[in-house]
Symmetry: C2
Subunit: 212 residues, 2 copies
DNA sequence: GTATGTGAAACCGTTCACAGCA
DNA sequence: TGCTGTGAACGGTTTCACATAC
């Protein structure tokens, strides 16, 4: 147990995967799982799971395994997934609208409470019950509604200025769907979702067909 | 130059990023760029760029740098992005519809030519000019339209069977938006786009606020 | 006996530093 | 001189193997 002295991001994303599978096990009424059993489900090495967990504590019972409910609870606590997160969307186009309606988000405690767009024609309309506000309202709305995470779904050329506005409004966490590198102050966290890049990788594999 | 003897996936995704920035440079009329200059734009180490390129050949001129147009052309060739790719979508819900309308895909040579859904109410309708077909038509349509890549945008519990159907229809490349591990024969390539996972990582960072 | 927690080894990707070449 | 291409050094993650605990 080393606590937060350099925990690799990839270990965190694995925790998210473990949580997903633990939730399935819990739904099936399973009470106990071994690192080997969970590893098979997640497609990783058992030692990997034990090492990942060891960053944060000792959650298992030797000779037995892990109690599903308990481990799931602990991982959710580690990830910060044991609370509701309030999201604000910038860019209510095709993708943005789909995100506002994306049920799995709210199911998991990620709630969109505001949306912003620059097109006058969109202002005032509602998507999935969420009113679309003008960009100028961002500062005020983000403060008022206690928004903690900004989601960027604008076109690439507007992504940087959208990020700048979010940062100016006090946002410290951004989920960015635009295929651009966003510049930001060091206290702001960004995660990128870049599906053009994934498509490129896929096509590379298909082209150089080495299988896999 | 080692050719395809173990090229890490992460190197491939960096090539995609390099291509993006080279396209910008080309648009600005720049003719030559050094690994250092490109590295600054992409936020990586110059040696990294040279190493990544060295997997595939020698594309630069010592003492000069890389010719923008030429390098872009070569990287596109490596990635297989120098041709059109025909995509088929499974699951025309919120996200699926957004993907069908996603302009940046077609701009880059990724063309949706078919869409499939299980809901009878959706069959026969068109989204962005693409008719929605029943799942049963998948085999036939995929053959007929020469679809090479399947895009999965169904709910998690249906993702595996969607993948199975695609594979049975002869698809070898899948872009999966469902937050599940898909099982598949070893000749089938899958890339996952998992934004719940990215949100979890972001929330971890915000929770354990180590900045960054 | 069985499965965890963990130091040590193996592996892999990144960065350095410099030789090679325009 | 300047920048690429690359072997060698470095750093970090994964896997092994076993002591430890139930």
């Amino acid at each position: 147990m080393l606590d937060s002295l350099k925990i690799p991001t990839i270990a965190i994303s694995r925790l998210s995967v473990y949580a997903r599978h633990l939730a399935l096990l819990e739904g099936n009424g399973e009470e106990v799982i071994s690192s080997g059993g969970l590893a098979d489900m997640c497609g990783v090495n058992p030692a990997q799971i034990r090492k990942d967990l060891a960053y944060f504590g000792e959650f298992g019972v030797r000779g037995v395994g892990y109690y599903v409910k308990e481990l799931l609870f602990e991982i959710r606590k580690i990830l910060g997934a044991d609370k509701e997160w309030r999201l604000g969307l910038v860019g209510v186009g095709n993708l943005g609208s789909a995100l506002l309606r994306h049920a799995p988000f709210s199911d998991r405690g990620y709630i969109f409470v505001a949306a912003f767009d620059k097109k006058p024609g969109r202002i005032g309309k509602k998507v999935n019950g969420i009113p679309i506000e003008p960009l100028e309202a961002m500062n005020h709305v983000i403060q008022e509604k206690g928004i903690e995470i900004g989601v960027i779904a604008v076109k690439p050329d507007l992504a940087q200025s959208a990020a700048d506005m979010l940062v100016r409004a006090g946002i410290a966490g951004i989920l960015n769907f635009a295929p651009v590198q966003i510049q930001r102050p060091s206290h702001v966290c960004i995660e990128n979702v870049d599906f053009s890049l994934k498509l490129d990788v896929l096509c590379y594999r298909l082209t150089s067909d080495v299988g896999r």
